[in-house]
């Protein structure tokens, strides 16, 4: 399988298109031929991360990397950053506003869902300077 690298732009507060990057990532993964369980895990992580960038991150980007042994998602944004990372991973903790909640978000399950689906998570965040979230998935015969 050839290595693949794709970059996508995510716009702050663009609720008309929020989620479309993740659907495109999902479509690429389906095209490659990964099994549905793996595609689901990666798609859920992509969607939760994309929504986080749209809602909290300011403008940002998503990077999809597929290599023979792994799939990696990297979400980078220039937003307000996360004050307390440990708290942000706590199920039910949310800083979503009314607009986010009207859209069906703000359950406080975004990062917990990512944690549940990923094989590895690396997160760097500084208040006022944005966040980088690197999510890894190992490939172990995940085709078909």
């Amino acid at each position: 399988m050839p290595d693949l690298e794709r970059r996508f732009t995510i716009r702050a507060n663009d609720f008309v298109n929020a989620g479309e990057v993740s659907l495109e990532i999902q479509s690429i993964l389906k095209h490659i031929g990964f099994n549905p369980a793996l595609i689901r895990r990666i798609s859920v992580c992509a969607y939760e991360s994309e929504m986080n960038v749209v809602m909290h991150g300011g403008d940002g980007e998503a990077l999809l990397k597929v290599s023979p042994n792994s799939v990696t998602l990297v979400f980078t944004d220039q937003g307000k950053g996360i004050k307390d990372i440990e708290l942000a991973f706590k199920p039910g903790y949310s800083t979503a506003n009314l607009k986010h909640r009207e859209m069906g978000f703000g359950a406080g399950m975004g990062l917990p869902n990512i944690k549940e689906s990923a094989d590895s998570i690396e997160i760097h965040s500084e208040e006022g300077h944005g966040t980088t979230l690197n999510i890894g998935f190992e490939l172990e015969g995940d085709f078909g």
Partner: protein
């Protein structure tokens, strides 16, 4: 595992089919209900019908991300053109029922559908979280 056709669900819930008239033979085996998309993302999977009161575009995107078989809007909520267009684009059946969330779920449960608690597809992180101290 009980499986129920979308056409049976339509009749059971007195629902109208907004998108997917050609897919009413599809069978579902589980149900996931809620208005919080992250809760849906955690539970729902292929072969699940999603019952929700949330009537906006993110419902369609969430449903496609986890691969649910159909979406049912409760309380007679009708999708707008954008929602219908997106559901069509992704081949996702979309129904609208006059039932409340509770009644819709009750009828589906009575019919034999169960929740997604047992469908947890995977558990936990293998390597832990790294990054900021």
């Amino acid at each position: 595992m009980t499986s129920v056709k979308l056409s049976e669900i339509r009749d059971l819930l007195n629902a109208t089919v907004q998108v997917g008239d050609d897919k009413l033979n599809t069978s579902v085996s589980a149900c996931c209900a809620g208005d919080l998309m992250s809760d849906i993302l955690r539970g729902a999977t292929q072969g699940t019908v999603l019952v929700t009161g949330l009537n906006n575009i993110q419902v369609i995107r969430t449903a496609v991300i986890v691969g649910v078989a159909a979406v049912i809007l409760v309380r007679e909520k009708l999708p707008d053109e954008t929602l219908v267009a997106h559901a069509r684009k992704h081949g996702l059946p979309l129904l609208s029922t006059p039932c409340t969330m509770f009644s819709a779920c009750g009828r589906l449960y009575e019919k034999g559908l169960r929740g997604v608690e047992k469908q947890v597809y995977r558990s936990g992180l293998r390597k832990g979280i790294t990054g900021n101290p």
